[in-house]
Symmetry: C2
């Protein structure tokens, strides 16, 4: 793969990312009061059985720094969508857990999310 092609696919990736992200941000924001990263976090937690996640684990999943995730969790917590639980075995750690309200909000937002992705990623 030569330089020209590499740059071409990078720009295409950037374009696809930008437009999709932007539409998601608007739709999720207006209809459900969620940012894209908020939704991504809720989405991970709604998928999981136990629903317990460590902060760093979530940060890796959604590609944010751990400090960004700490504040994101604080916002979600203030909104009642998530709660922090002390971790018995290691009291440095925190378990972040989705609440009933969080599950509800996620369920409401899911169709919007899927619809935008479907429209955006199939050109």
């Amino acid at each position: 793969m030569n330089d020209h092609d590499v740059v071409g696919s990078w720009r295409e990736l950037l374009a696809r990312h930008a437009t999709t992200w932007c539409v998601l941000e608007r739709e999720l924001g207006e209809k459900h009061g969620l940012g894209v990263s908020d939704f991504e976090v809720l989405d991970r937690m709604a998928e999981s059985e136990h629903g317990k996640y460590r902060v760093q684990e979530l940060a890796d999943e959604v590609h944010l720094s751990q400090s960004a995730l700490s504040r994101l969790v604080s916002r979600l917590e203030k909104a009642g969508l998530v709660c922090r639980n002390m971790c018995q075995e290691d009291r440095r750690g925190v378990f972040v857990q989705i609440t009933e309200a969080g599950i509800d909000r996620h369920r409401q937002a899911l169709p919007t999310h899927r619809a935008v992705l479907g429209a955006s990623l199939n050109d």
Copy 2:
């Protein structure tokens, strides 16, 4: 394409974008004092013949808001890498033009940029 696949490719796109962007940011920043968007703007202007771009035009190219681009241009201008020129025909408008220093900086950063993309986008 079903929901599951769509979400899968979206997450893959997010991952690829995040890691590539992050490495680019670090490498371009440390070695050349440029952010990724800075480079993208210089890259567009270095490509072009005339080298004259309108602010909104650049904003569209690099997927930033017009206000973000206005400030980005201000930073590049302060660094001496681009300059703003009054636009004769329409005195609301501004032509952004790359300087000699800008062309030099771009030339120096280009190999780094291509190398990172090559490594990152070929897995």
